[in-house]
């Protein structure tokens, strides 16, 4: 059912054009944060207004949309955003990563490898990787312009000196094509390697902060590290309790009052795809 009171995918065409321009600029300068005149959306800031605006600007009537939050299609906010586009754009939706042409995500990159022709849209809360080192936007823009990333390296080095490890587990900063330091959105660092050399277009939308940035297909994306402390994509050291996968990112679920727990794939589509093919974990019914 399409709501005819609103334009296709909610936003008016002028606004979409403005957003598409920002996306194209972002694709032309990978990792650079392009300011855009973010609109008030009918969901609150922090719920993915940037991602929704980017999705609205790239969706066509022939697209098939998948929306995930924390890797899952059935989390409440994913359900809500999928419902929003079903209503305002009337596009087909899917939970299968490989069938989707546009995937909007919050906090995860799907486990299944993405392909050419797919667009992955990230919801971004704080697009500025330097924000917690320098709160001023006027300063951080200068630092990017001058490629002045020493502060970030000092922070990572101090982590190692103090803890023996870099104490950043998600939203782990990356460098794009050897130029811009970029915030990959709050994905776990487990997902960072998937950012690089990806055949799909990756778009990042931050509504409240009014920024769009992008990674064109096959862009080189490196997680910041040191030669003697190489980056390591980590996850819980368990197989999935339902599908037995050892290579997927896991959620820890507390199952009883005694604190018993199990680990399951955070990517529900990946897990559900594996189970009927005979992959069983130790907790599978």
């Amino acid at each position: 059912m399409t709501d005819r009171d609103y334009n296709f995918a909610y936003l008016d065409e002028q606004t979409k054009k403005m957003i598409r321009r920002a996306i194209l600029k972002g694709l032309a300068i990978p990792g650079y944060q392009v300011p855009f005149a973010s609109r008030e959306m009918p969901m609150p800031y922090g719920w993915g207004t940037g991602g929704v605006q980017v999705s609205a600007a790239v969706l066509t009537p022939d697209d098939t949309l998948k929306v995930i939050d924390q890797g899952a299609d059935d989390t409440t906010n994913a359900v809500s955003i999928r419902g929003f586009f079903e209503r305002t754009a009337g596009v087909a939706t899917t939970t299968h990563t490989k069938d989707a042409t546009v995937i909007q995500t919050r906090h995860r990159i799907p486990e299944a490898a993405l392909a050419e022709g797919q667009v992955l849209v990230y919801q971004v809360p704080i697009p500025e990787p330097l924000r917690f080192l320098e709160p001023r936007e006027t300063e951080t823009r200068k630092m990017h312009a001058l490629e002045e990333y020493g502060l970030m390296h000092v922070k990572l080095y101090e982590d190692i000196a103090r803890h023996g490890h870099i104490a950043t587990a998600y939203a782990y900063p990356v460098k794009v094509e050897g130029r811009y330091v970029m915030d990959p959105s709050p994905i776990p660092k487990f997902d960072n390697p998937k950012l690089s050399d990806c055949p799909a277009i990756q778009l990042f939308g931050a509504g409240r902060e009014q920024r769009i940035y992008a990674l064109p297909p096959y862009t080189r994306v490196e997680s910041l590290d040191f030669a003697d402390h190489p980056f390591e994509a980590s996850k819980a050291d368990h197989p999935c309790g339902l599908c037995g996968a050892t290579d997927s990112y896991l959620d820890e679920v507390i199952t009883d009052d005694a604190g018993a727990r199990m680990f399951v794939c955070s990517d529900t589509d990946h897990c559900e795809d594996r189970q009927p093919r005979g992959h069983r974990g130790k907790d599978a019914a």
Binding site: S38, G46, T138, A169, K189, D283
Partner: protein, 362 residues
């Protein structure tokens, strides 16, 4: 046995139905009409119009009803609606000098041309609960007097004649539009005022109060506060002249601030300015104080590091729709990030325990 949590869709639907029921309240109590809210909750309506940046009392009243009286939620509804409206054009600047004033006071002169007009103000009421209102809210008709039709002169003009106050230089450059262009810094005064006009009343009040308590004190007097209606005119290209398309109520506050002079400016009074939709004088006065504090640079004052002097701090945090959204979004699931933090903390603890054991062994 863990079963993946399904049924988010059903849960959302049920939550919405419950919300609608709660909004209505007890069905035995008569439902509020939009007109009742518009007429009897008019200051709430004014705030929603001001911070929602849309002058429409009926829509604001509807938003308040739908939001169960949560004004920030109501402002959000108005903003989200406003953003979908087509733009036909811009009005000509309204002339607040020609305002038909319901209220006009000056704290700097005992009496002045145009007079002190108190208007409908809480200022000198005793804040005693009026229990009669619980039974009967009807009010006797207030005494009436013929209003003088002449425009009320501005207080700042009296000071200006003597050259005691900084000149307000007319500027015809079209102001930028915060709702159509991303905020970029440094922001000119027109843009700062635009942001402050729709800023959260509480945040603006707190900042203004902080300047009074010494964080960038600027000795503000309310030179003039006026509330009343002004006509809105729009240039119609086919006609070639401006026609009146409606009338809006505005609150305007001009503060007169002490200023002992700086390297670039002689001693004189300076100005802070506030202009807000509706009768919203707390907000207009707050806005004027914050505006004045933000002008430290152009007036050659010292930056004392006060929050109200920091345009980036003020402008990036004054919008309650942005603030409430980002604040409340931490209710959304974050278990992926939390999981990665869990792993990290466990790893760091293992390291510490291992080194402690090693030390004990040595």
């Amino acid at each position: 046995m863990y079963v993946a949590v399904k049924g988010g869709e059903r849960a959302i639907e049920a939550a919405h139905e419950w919300l609608a029921e709660e909004r209505r309240g007890h069905p035995a109590v008569p439902e509020l009409s939009i007109a009742q809210i518009r007429e009897q909750m008019s200051l709430a309506v004014n705030r929603v119009m001001a911070e929602g940046s849309l002058y429409d009392p009926d829509l604001a009243a509807l938003a308040i009803k739908q939001a169960r009286g949560d004004l920030i939620e109501a402002i959000f509804l108005i903003r989200a609606y406003r953003t979908t409206l087509p733009r036909f054009g811009a009005s000509t600047p309204v002339d607040t000098g020609a305002m038909a004033c319901d209220r006009r006071i000056s704290a700097t002169f005992k009496d002045l041309p145009g007079g002190q007009v108190l208007g409908p103000t809480f200022d000198y009421t005793h804040r005693l609960l009026d229990f009669r209102l619980a039974a009967d809210g009807e009010a006797p008709a207030a005494p009436r007097r013929e209003a003088s039709p002449a425009p009320v002169p501005r207080v700042s003009e009296f000071l200006n004649r003597e050259g005691l106050i900084e000149a307000a230089v007319p500027d015809d450059t079209a102001p930028p539009d915060l709702t159509r262009e991303p905020l970029e810094l440094p922001a000119a005064r027109a843009l700062r005022l635009q942001a402050l006009a729709r800023a959260d009343e509480g945040f603006t009040l707190g900042l203004a109060y902080s300047t009074q308590r010494g964080y960038a004190r600027n000795h503000a007097f309310v030179g003039e506060l006026r509330i009343g209606t002004v006509p809105v005119e729009m240039e119609i290209p086919e006609l070639g002249f401006a026609v009146e398309i409606g009338e809006i109520t505005l609150t305007e506050c001009e503060t007169v601030n002490q200023f002992t002079g700086s390297k670039s400016e002689p001693p004189q009074f300076t100005r802070g300015y506030g202009l807000v939709f509706g009768q919203t004088e707390r907000k207009a006065i707050s806005m004027a104080l914050v505006d004045r504090a933000l002008r430290w640079e152009e007036l050659g004052e010292d930056n004392v590091g006060a929050p109200a002097q920091d345009a980036e701090f003020v402008l990036y945090h004054a919008d309650n729709i942005q603030a409430t959204g980002f604040l409340e979004h931490i209710k959304l699931p974050h278990y992926v990030d939390f999981q990665s933090e869990l792993e990290l903390v466990r790893k760091l603890r293992r390291n510490v325990e291992a080194s402690q054991q090693q030390e004990a062994a040595e």
